[in-house]
Symmetry: C2
Subunit: 292 residues, 2 copies
């Protein structure tokens, strides 16, 4: 790779990425016209280069997506050797199947557009369903930052117990527990079909005086996790941690977690930093793969 | 055509379109998740049909574009015979060439994506540069609503004089003047390279006691038009009208026009209605072409 092109949504990790990879970075110029249209311009210097295009699809997601499309369009007009996307957070990754006829597979539209527009490889952090990367017509790398996550937990929690919010994410709990050489389980979640309220229960596990880590890929509204934390404390746990790859924390999520006495929210640095979250850095794990 | 599918940005003209064409319309269901992602669903009933997909790319443009992409993705999953887009306002149509290296031709990216995603024809109202429609890989129709515009002006202005804000738009003034059987000209616009201020001047025309119509395709911030209106009044004009196809009216544009004593702002109904604008209906001109 010759150069890093930092997209409009990369401010919080661009310099760090440049230093870790020891590759020069340039920034995309960006402004918004009075009528709301986005204007972007990429530095000419990227011509003829193998580019790492770094840009997260953070909220507001639709703006981030369109800005990425405009950057790819601008690069098409220059003579670029290779465009390798580092897209730490891929929006719409949870819209990955049709539940009701007439719905789009939004992640499919997104990934197909990116490859059609000249992105030849994509590096991402912990995409919701790794098999959706097959919609991307090129090479894809999905980095699940268990190592960085475990390193941080080791510094903060004592003999932690790892728990996933549902059976679907059990493998995640197993792998993190493995890194931490500890035990793990999942919660049972039942949604009341009438009230929509979520009922959480646990298997026969002894959480008394344990530090408990709830692990998931994304935390959005924080509703389920807050309920789970309360329940875990009621079973005698000492501290409840939340460890995720992507801290979306929509609306008043962070307050919900505080009210539930969540001790710390740990997240990878894939989205713009929010107060109340402790971030662990995934760039070293990306750098390792990029250097291969 | 069998059915009209009204996109998320068509509320203000959907019923009218359905009545004028005498074709049933269905609406796309739309909501926004707490984290900011858009969810859309198209009614299954469109399966197997020749569809008119009606959706304007109104501000916030990036949301409107992404919603259209999701609708096209949803339609791909159903068995649609034909997708004909009625996109009255095409955002990014003014980003149609590269002024500085590293810029995108944004309108190219947009139109290519729409055709790649299965839109086979596009009907639009007065796109900024008609030749950009060649980026759309399908049939395209650009409807310039001189007739509807002229009808409305005829009801409001007496023996109007038509003027375009620059020589580039002179043909537009000529054609509207032709519909109105009256005279026309263009203004000279000079931008001070240091202050950015626009200096407007007129040729040897007698505007004394005339109703003057400033005609353009888009009115955005209204700055130039407000300056022009003041100048036109200073030359003795009776009333100044502004007639456009697309009334974007960003920020405090409408106040600027009021302060300049603009008598009326007339616009086609291509964008969501704003107070202070009188709208003329372009659906009859669309219907005429669709029925051919």
């Amino acid at each position: 790779m010759d150069i890093i092109l930092c997209g409009t949504k990369s401010d919080w990790f661009c310099d760090n990425l440049s230093k870790s990879l020891n590759i020069k970075s340039l920034k995309v110029f960006h402004k918004v016209f009075p009528d709301g249209e986005t204007y972007i311009r990429v530095p000419e210097e990227v011509s003829g280069k193998k580019v790492i295009l770094a840009h997260s699809l953070s909220p507001p997601q639709n703006d981030s997506i369109w800005e990425l499309i405009l950057i790819l369009e601008a690069l098409r007009e220059l003579d670029i050797k290779e465009i390798n996307g580092y897209i730490p957070y891929v929006a719409y990754s949870r819209q990955d199947k049709i539940f009701l006829n007439g719905e789009p597979i939004s992640i499919k539209a997104l990934l197909q557009i990116l490859s059609q527009m000249g992105m030849s490889s994509i590096y991402t952090i912990d995409i919701h369903k790794p098999n959706t990367l097959s919609y991307f017509n090129g090479t894809s790398y999905n980095i699940i930052p268990f190592k960085s996550m475990a390193n941080m937990i080791r510094n903060m929690a004592k003999h932690p117990f790892v728990i996933s919010p549902d059976i679907g994410a059990l493998e995640r709990a197993r792998r993190l527990a493995n890194e931490l050489s500890t035990d793990f389980d999942y919660m049972e979640k039942k949604r009341d079909v009438y009230t929509g309220k979520i009922e959480i229960s646990f298997h026969e596990v002894n959480l008394k005086d344990r530090d408990v880590v709830i692990v998931d890929d994304i935390i959005s509204t924080g509703g389920t996790v807050a309920e789970a934390a309360k329940k875990i404390y009621s079973l005698g746990a000492k501290k409840v941690f939340v460890a995720v790859s992507h801290a979306l924390l929509a609306g008043d999520a962070i307050n919900k977690l505080k009210e539930a006495n969540v001790y710390s929210v740990l997240s990878a640095n894939t989205l713009p930093p929010k107060s109340g979250v402790i971030y662990y850095d995934v760039i070293p794990e990306l750098a390792e793969i990029l250097k291969q």
